[in-house]
Amino acid sequence: MQVAPSDSSALNTYAPDVREQLLHYVLQLADTSLMLAHRLSEWCGHGPILEQDLAMANIALDLLGEARSYYQYAAELEGQGRTEDDLAYLRSAVEYRNPLLAEQPNGDFADTATRQFLFDNFHYHLLQQLQTSPDERLAAIAEKSWKEAAYHLKWSSEWIIRLGDGTAESRQRLDKALANLWRYSGELTIPTASELNLQALGIIPEYAGLQASMNAHVAKVFAEATLPLPAATYMQRGGKEGRHSEHLGYILTELQYMQRTYPGLTW
């Protein structure tokens, strides 16, 4: 990486415990974007039509770029000499902090569109608010990524509408995807201990306000898609604290293969 970061916010002004919580949070954001980028990139060359293949590869690239910005910041927060690549490629499964939703398999196109919609709706509204964080670095990354997230949310929202209000086949597939994936949506806005502390300090947004904006968008999209709102249900959680589904290990096997087999390999 030849480009030096210049948005160095006052790294040393945080108390050690806050710095640790912020590191957890930044890694959580980084891991989430990395896992989704990886999942979407698995579609490359397999999309239903060329334009949608390209769309998923484009969204994957945006998320990968965003993940890099977070990993670079996390490496500086950690201050142990690890690089963005070390953090992305050389941690064990329990150290990854992405919510379970991000690691769920692609399934069919309806599964992927649904997973993306549930994430995009959270991502867009989170980044909108994170732009006003007193942490300048997080605010800068959010400002940049929010514009991209708007394109993602439009894409996935329109696919929910097309599939829901489409043919009997598309509707049946979307129903199945929602029945499986909705239970992973809650974890996005159930704060961890680190998130609660950062919220109390005003560094990251409160999730109650975020949830209201997210619910409004779901209601709008589902109404157009002729879908009933899913009933309240038990929400699966654990990924943000390192308790993952079986899927993460398989992702890491592929993602980390080169660096594990040939440590330090560069292009």
């Binding site: 030096a4 770029g65 929202s157 509408i161």
Partner: protein, 169 residues
């Protein structure tokens, strides 16, 4: 310019005008509006601050290298390229010359003032984009995502030409 002299900021800007975008080579990085600041210290150390168009833009490393090589050719060795995310790059920073070059190259230039905010207008009317080939306004959006992160795919309804649209951001 000789290496022993301290270059002026104006000279650096002129050299940067010669560095092109690796993916849209008709555009210089100044046309793109990604160079935010140039500073020259008393000892001749140059600092160039650039901002990425997209988070995952793979061209940023290439651009940093190209800046280094162009300055090196003039004997300027003390260079730091900074990456600045905020304020976030917007297509409104494209220069007028850049917009004309884009269209001549076959890529429709972004329609200003249509960035991001309108996007949640689902299935709303697409931005009216002029065909770079026949100049017709009868065009339609094929996909918001195209051959690179900064482009959308359009097609002209009159001359049928598929074309890239440098999408608003």
């Amino acid at each position: 310019m000789v290496a022993t002299q301290v270059p002026t900021e104006q000279q650096i800007w002129l050299l940067l005008e010669e560095v092109s975008d690796p993916e849209v080579p008709v555009l210089s990085i100044l046309d793109l509006g990604i160079v935010r600041r140039v500073q020259v210290a008393a000892d001749g150390a140059v600092q160039v601050t650039i901002t990425p168009t997209y988070s995952g833009c793979p061209a940023m490393n290439t651009i940093a290298t190209d800046i280094r090589l162009r300055l090196l050719a003039e004997g300027i060795t003390q260079l730091t390229v900074h990456n600045q995310l905020s304020p976030a790059w917007t297509t409104d920073w494209l220069s007028e010359a850049g917009r004309e070059k884009l269209e001549a190259y076959g890529i429709a230039a972004p329609v200003n003032g249509t960035a991001t905010g309108h996007l949640l207008n689902l299935f709303g009317e697409d931005t009216a984009v002029r065909c770079p080939l026949c100049k017709s306004e009868h065009t339609h959006l094929v996909s918001q995502f195209g051959s690179t992160a900064c482009k959308a795919s359009y097609q002209c309804d009159d001359c049928q030409e598929p074309f890239d649209y440098f999408k608003c951001h």
